[in-house]
Symmetry: C2
Subunit: 157 residues, 2 copies
């Protein structure tokens, strides 16, 4: 029944992984609320913030690329991008690779806006950073991206 079970401890591991998911929910909600608390000062919705943040750390991207990167629908990202453009935070630049799908780039205002938001968030994060080791955070990142890719693959059943 468990022919793919690589180790006897797998059951326990599975339990811990479930715990991880139990934490992700509340964490996501509180983080979102925190972002909402902060970002409105700049007039940014959570979605717009996400777009700006992606552009900030990845450089110019197309809308479909961003959707795939964040597991969001193309249309949703499009809307957020348009909102951001309406606010003058991003601009469209011609894409050498695809003539139809332009690259989205942060404007100077956008850079400044997302920079301010991220800086405020970093200031909050800094309060706890001290207690955690880099190794722990590293492990955490590995586990989370593992889970993420897993959920990517099992789209079909």
């Amino acid at each position: 029944m468990r022919e793919t079970d690589p180790s006897p401890a797998t059951g326990a591991l599975t339990d811990r992984l479930a715990e991880v998911f139990d934490l992700v929910g509340p964490l996501y909600r509180r983080a979102q609320r925190k972002v909402e608390q902060d970002a409105p000062l700049e007039g940014l919705s959570v979605g717009v913030r996400a777009v700006l943040n992606m552009l900030r750390e990845h450089g110019p991207m197309t809308v479909p690329q961003m959707g795939r990167a964040q597991a969001l629908s193309r249309q949703f990202v499009q809307r957020m991008t348009n909102d951001a453009a309406g606010l003058g935070l991003v601009e469209f630049m011609p894409n050498p690779a695809h003539k139809r799908s332009s690259l989205i780039r942060l404007t100077d205002e956008g850079e400044q806006a997302i920079g301010a938001v991220v800086e405020r968030e970093r200031r909050v994060l800094r309060q706890i950073g001290g207690d955690l080791t880099e190794a722990e955070i590293d492990a955490c990142l590995r586990v989370l991206s593992r889970l993420l890719h897993l959920l990517d693959d099992i789209d079909m059943d």
Copy 2:
């Protein structure tokens, strides 16, 4: 400018923590979608699933307790609880501590329903458990609950 900086490496750590949050978003969304895919078979909404899951691993609780535990509003949890009661998955039992606020307990059907859901999810999780060590998952849990508590405290500004 950084007078509260405990260590020179804090900046790097903060960056990694930010990465954690960047993963939490997509992860939460995909997990939710996966749950939606599975749970509808049992007729459970995400909220009801959350309530059942809490009762499953924590035992009987009151509605306000559950709200606090999951960082959800009292009223929302109440609705989900009532839904669950309507489905016969939970029942109300008198609370010795508070006459007004009854304890919510899983019924046999509820136990079975959430058990089935959790089992299906475990089966999915088991696919990746092998690659991750217990120490990594442990570290991940520590980091996440750390972050969670941080966000708890900074409710006020």
